[in-house]
Symmetry: C2
């Protein structure tokens, strides 16, 4: 069935790089489209078309060069992606899914329509509406931009009218919505894969830790009750069934203090919270995505080690990329370091990640934390 030889990826960053590696292992050729040349994906042998995310012409060129198109990033030209699909070229996930996810408000409406548990939310188009929302949400809410938000950019916690005024200036000119603040004990995530045949496989539920709104750490598996795990798994499957197109999806969730599990956000692609799968599950999220979009059967998503912890290597300064402490980090057992080949380094830029495995999350965490502490970039 799989007649795919060339895979086209919109985006050649670290996700495109790890997708390229998985694709090459299975014998596929890869072309990426990326705003800058010598992308992390090109460095591992992907052909490269240098073009802006929204360049529809270059996207059509990418489509001409490939048998199937996928994305590593959702903030792109969804119309151009839909035009590619209209020519009969397979696009995974479906452009309609990408478009839905581009607008976080529409995403919430969609989840709500499909009776998927989420935090209460409301559209806000004026400051008075925002004030009304803050009242409705009992004085604590999140104001979020509808478009272009990722890695926590475009989120503001609002606890009073001063917060609101500040955020209103910050987000000036942007379409917004507000979300009731749900007190939560943990943030969870799960990768879900869907094949072209509609079959669904879920990865283990993991716990994610965010700092400055960026995912910094992932603990696999999440140490939560069986009941919470079941809820999270069922939610993930329910979401995956509603989305169109094949591939891997990242679903971020909250474990609320009242025990409820709510979906926060969906990523229509491989995701930072799934990096641990390279070392820790029988099929990595990257190979799984390649299998899914090329019509190959989905692989085993179970863990092959008891536990794993992933910690991002975020840039610590702005300037030339200089890695320090690799030797010290690798002195620790069961520690894998992944560097993405990005230059220059920038504060909070995702430059690499560390995955440590161990007999439990505590052991893996110790190793990963210590390894990260020993490195600089």
């Amino acid at each position: 069935m799989s007649q795919v030889r060339v895979i086209g990826i919109v985006g050649g960053g670290q996700l495109g790089r790890m997708l390229t590696l998985a694709a090459k292992q299975l014998g596929f050729h890869v072309v990426v489209m990326n705003p800058e040349g010598n992308s992390p994906a090109a460095q591992v042998g992907a052909d490269e078309i240098v073009a802006d995310w929204y360049d529809g012409k270059k996207l059509a060129q990418l489509a001409d060069a490939a048998d199937v198109i996928t994305v590593e990033f959702e903030h792109l030209n969804a119309d151009a992606l839909a035009a590619v699909e209209a020519t009969g070229k397979p696009v995974h996930p479906a452009p309609s899914t990408v478009r839905l996810i581009q607008d976080k408000y529409e995403q919430k409406v969609f989840l709500n329509q499909h009776k998927i548990a989420i935090a209460p939310f409301v559209k806000v188009e004026s400051l008075p509406e925002a004030r009304k929302a803050l009242k409705k949400f009992k004085g604590k809410m999140l104001l979020k931009t509808r478009h272009g938000a990722y890695d926590g950019r475009g989120n503001a916690l609002i606890r009073n009218t001063n917060d609101l005024k500040r955020a209103w200036v910050q987000f000036q000119g942007k379409a917004l919505y507000a979300e009731g603040f749900v007190p939560f004990s943990k943030e969870l995530a799960v990768m879900v894969a869907r094949g072209t045949d509609g079959k669904i496989k879920t990865y283990p539920i993991v716990e994610t830790i965010h700092k400055r709104n960026i995912c910094v750490e992932v603990r696999a598996p999440a140490v939560i009750s069986i009941a919470a795990r079941k809820k999270a798994e069922n939610l993930a499957k329910k979401v995956a069934k509603q989305l169109k197109g094949a591939g891997v999806f990242g679903i971020e969730m909250f474990l609320a203090t009242d025990g409820k599990v709510l979906v926060n956000e969906i990523a229509p692609r491989v995701h930072n919270s799934g990096h641990y799968t390279t070392e820790a599950t029988h099929t990595s999220q990257f190979e799984q995505h390649i299998r899914a979009i090329t019509g190959l059967p989905l692989g085993d998503t179970s863990m092959r080690v008891p536990a794993a912890v992933m910690i991002n290597i975020l840039g610590e300064r702005n300037g030339e990329t200089v890695v320090t402490g690799l030797e010290a980090a690798l002195q620790l057992p069961q520690v894998s370091v992944h560097l993405y080949g990005k230059a220059p380094t920038k504060i909070d830029r995702k430059m690499g990640h560390i995955t440590a495995t161990g007999k439990n999350v505590t052991e893996a965490r110790k190793r990963a934390t210590l390894a990260r502490r020993r490195m600089g970039i």
Copy 2:
């Protein structure tokens, strides 16, 4: 300590490819020298110098471009490699080790000198000497070429004077030696890593299966007695201590029917019998080699799954590379398929490999065997 940025590899085949992937993950740049362009290593982002294995000038060019030189293949210009080392550029393993291993007879002399258990052997420079050897070895011996032999090329089993005459014609003009035939119950192999600091780590002992003198299957761990395992481990460490230079070495052994373990052959590099480590041990042989030659600490060599079986995907015909049955193979759980991007396919050419993991060797073997049977190339 590690000031290496660019790694030069003599050879860009599947071993060079998997070394390149490991090097890139750790942030190194790679240049390979390979007799043909678009090598498997170049396909995953290595820069490439196209040159014959014995081209000393191009080897010097490779050395100029790199901070450390290593090899994926030992049948190369050892003098040129030594000349590179003489300029002060680190070469791993040491050119003297490569030269030693190029001559299988000298290799045996060396092992014998260091009191490492091997089969009895004798140099043969004429047909009468060969007849004498056959008598000495009680009518059953192996006649082997001293140079350029790999994947079993250059070995002949001699049981009578007719066999001898045929082999003598076949090997005409080649330097030869003879080895007494030792009845064995299993063929074993072990990968050993040695750091630039002299530290040694051994991988699990595996069982290797050969057909037509080519390694076709590797079972990890080898199902052997504790006593045999200890003997094999000790032998491997003893060998590694005697070899010069850092890196990973493959040591092939026989488990004789009398319970003795004998060293058969050494590969001064990553080896087919270590491919299973990518899925099955905490540090793959490829990452380990990169760590070793760049002065990084050696990684954990223990298994992260109970068992793994690797089966080579050897070419089944001569012609255009067309992979069939990938979909059917990937329907099996815990099966990883690695394709090397080689073209054309040739009978018995190493085109890829399959590694299956499982709760024991029997389960892993079933999966790997079935997956291999479902594929064609």
